[in-house]
């Protein structure tokens, strides 16, 4: 989030924070971010009504000039999260730098297995530590993630990049922005055709 917000081209005005992550981690870590960048952050669930309410709470903050962390998903999330689960995570994993699609490597942005669990690390076990995966140069998911382009403005959208053969994370997940645009592209085309017909 800091990487996105500190970019001069960022157009992000508010965040819906992922409910499952916060169920475990709580949301105290978001509080300094909301203050520093003056953005509302609303912890939100995944049902349609959750999303609607999360957006409403976010917009209400923007209208009132507030920038706080609010919890829409209170039936699952507590401010400090699930502390026994966090302890287990800390025992097994340590914080490591991680490469993010379209953004590059971010320090302290991932989890890796601690030394005593290293033998379970697939990278080491299968000898693929030094294998690197090239990102497709055609994938614009980084720009989509930063809100700089819409998924259908990417040249690979629905041509080289489809849910069956995705180039980036936003097309891989069925809930990703590109996958959603892909699913509804037929409706958009049909709607536009109908509008044209009624005009002529």
């Amino acid at each position: 989030m800091e990487a996105i917000l500190s970019s001069p081209s960022s157009r992000v005005q508010g965040f819906l924070a992922a409910g499952h992550v916060c169920t475990v981690m709580g949301y105290t870590e978001y509080e300094p971010i909301a203050r520093k960048y003056h953005v509302p952050i609303v912890v939100t669930g995944f049902e349609p009504v959750d999303i609607l309410q999360g957006i409403y709470m976010c917009v209400a903050q923007l209208e009132e000039g507030r920038a706080e962390v609010e919890n829409q998903y209170a039936r699952s999330v507590r401010r400090r999260g699930n502390e026994p689960a966090q302890q287990i995570i800390r025992d097994v994993f340590e914080v490591v730098p991680r490469k993010w699609r379209g953004v590059g490597e971010i320090p302290q942005s991932g989890l890796g297995l601690r030394e005593k669990y290293r033998e379970l690390d697939a990278e080491r076990r299968f000898g693929i530590e030094h294998q690197t995966v090239e990102e497709s140069p055609e994938c614009r998911s980084g720009l989509v993630l930063r809100g700089l382009i819409k998924p259908n403005e990417c040249p690979a959208f629905a041509t080289k990049c489809t849910p069956e053969y995705p180039l980036g994370a936003t097309m891989v997940s069925s809930e990703g922005a590109c996958a959603a645009y892909y699913r509804y592209r037929r409706v958009r085309a049909a709607g536009a055709a109908a509008a044209k017909e009624s005009n002529s």
Binding site: A18, H20, V21, F46, E47, P48, V49, L52, P163, E164, Y165, S174, E175, R183, Y184, R186, V187, A190
Partner: protein
């Protein structure tokens, strides 16, 4: 003579050089594989009906024929086991063709080291399920593979059944205006399996809905309900079945979310895991397409049967966008229902 020269066609699937798990997930990649590789290689009028089984016209009889393989892990789960599934899945596929199942075959692929006691439990379970569904195992095959080369046991069953004269039940028979009937709540089988596999404990044990639906189908046909098409809601769930029928019939299908029964415990588990119950597998559920005039009678018949007490009209076919499934959801918006590429994965954010 150029020895390398051959008349064989190029591989019809170029995007993936290897088979992925998603190619068996009941979604788009599986359909692509079936369409581009199997249908194109084996093309004939029977396979092209794209039904759960083929209906073959013989001189004095109409025979339905189908096959299915079962590779479930764990082998035993709340509400069933691989043996019961291997019977229910195949007899239900026959029933979806409007057939009364007659005989089954069983091919068992066993892994070296499988406990004999486990095999015996599965075989007994197959026998009981066959009796319950009114079929007999009449032939079979056994192979044993090296330790580590199988998952304990894989079962294939094939089945034949009799279709009454003149009965046509197939996706191509669905008409604009047909009502979509669902026989009961959805999502139980997939969640039951997931709960055992991932060690998830809920307040109550969620049991698989695995059951033979033959009786239900025969009752509908015996009472003279006009059925245009039926489809069981196995891998890929209700959503994939609806999309398959919309595509094969060239019609649009509108569903109404409020009318689709999902048990509270299943809904809760789905919310926790980030699953959509519409895509979760069932093993004793089907949808039927019937003309509006038959809908009320069909509902009454279904609801009078133990397996169909939760039956409901959940939507209607229309001649709008060919091949599209749209669902009006509880908050009044319309959502497009598409097939997934592969299997549903738990939400991780």
């Amino acid at each position: 003579v150029n020895q390398d020269f051959s008349l064989s066609c190029p591989i019809p699937i170029s995007q993936y050089p290897q088979i992925l798990l998603a190619h068996g997930g009941g979604g788009k990649l599986m359909h692509q594989l079936i369409e581009k590789m199997f249908l194109s290689a084996f093309q004939n009028p029977l396979i092209e009906t794209r039904h759960d089984g083929a209906v073959i016209d013989l001189q004095n009889a109409r025979l339905a024929f189908t096959t299915d393989s079962y590779v479930v892990r764990p082998l035993f789960f709340p509400g069933g086991d691989i043996g019961r599934l291997a019977v229910h899945g195949t007899v239900n596929d026959l029933a979806m063709c409007g057939a009364r199942p007659l005989c089954l075959s069983a091919a068992l692929i066993l892994e070296e080291g499988l406990p004999m006691e486990t095999l015996w439990r599965i075989v007994q379970s197959m026998q009981q399920a066959a009796v319950q569904a009114g079929v007999q195992f009449v032939t079979g095959d056994t192979k044993v593979v090296d330790r580590g080369k199988g998952d304990g046991i894989f079962i294939n069953t094939a089945g034949i059944g009799l279709v009454r004269p003149c009965l046509q039940v197939a996706p191509a028979r669905v008409r604009s205006g047909d009502m979509v009937l669902l026989i009961g709540d959805v999502g139980r089988h997939g969640i039951a399996i997931m709960a055992v596999r991932e060690g998830l404990a809920f307040d109550s044990v969620i049991e698989s809905d695995s059951a033979p639906v033959v009786d239900l189908v025969m009752q509908l046909l015996d009472e003279g309900v006009e059925i245009h098409c039926m489809r069981d809601l196995t891998r890929g769930g209700l959503a994939s079945a609806a999309v398959e029928i919309a595509e094969a019939s060239g019609l649009e299908i509108r569903l109404d979310e409020k009318t689709i029964p999902v048990r509270e415990d299943v809904r809760g588990a789905c919310e926790l895991l980030g699953f959509d119950p519409l895509y979760v597998a069932n093993e004793g559920r089907f949808i039927a397409f019937v003309p509006p005039a038959s809908a009320e009678k069909a509902l009454q018949i279904l609801r009078s049967h133990a397996l169909g007490q939760g039956a409901a009209v959940i939507g209607q076919a229309n001649s709008g966008h060919a091949g599209m499934v749209a669902m009006t959801n509880a908050i009044g918006t319309t959502r497009m229902i598409d097939m997934l590429s592969g299997e549903q994965l738990p939400r991780i954010c």
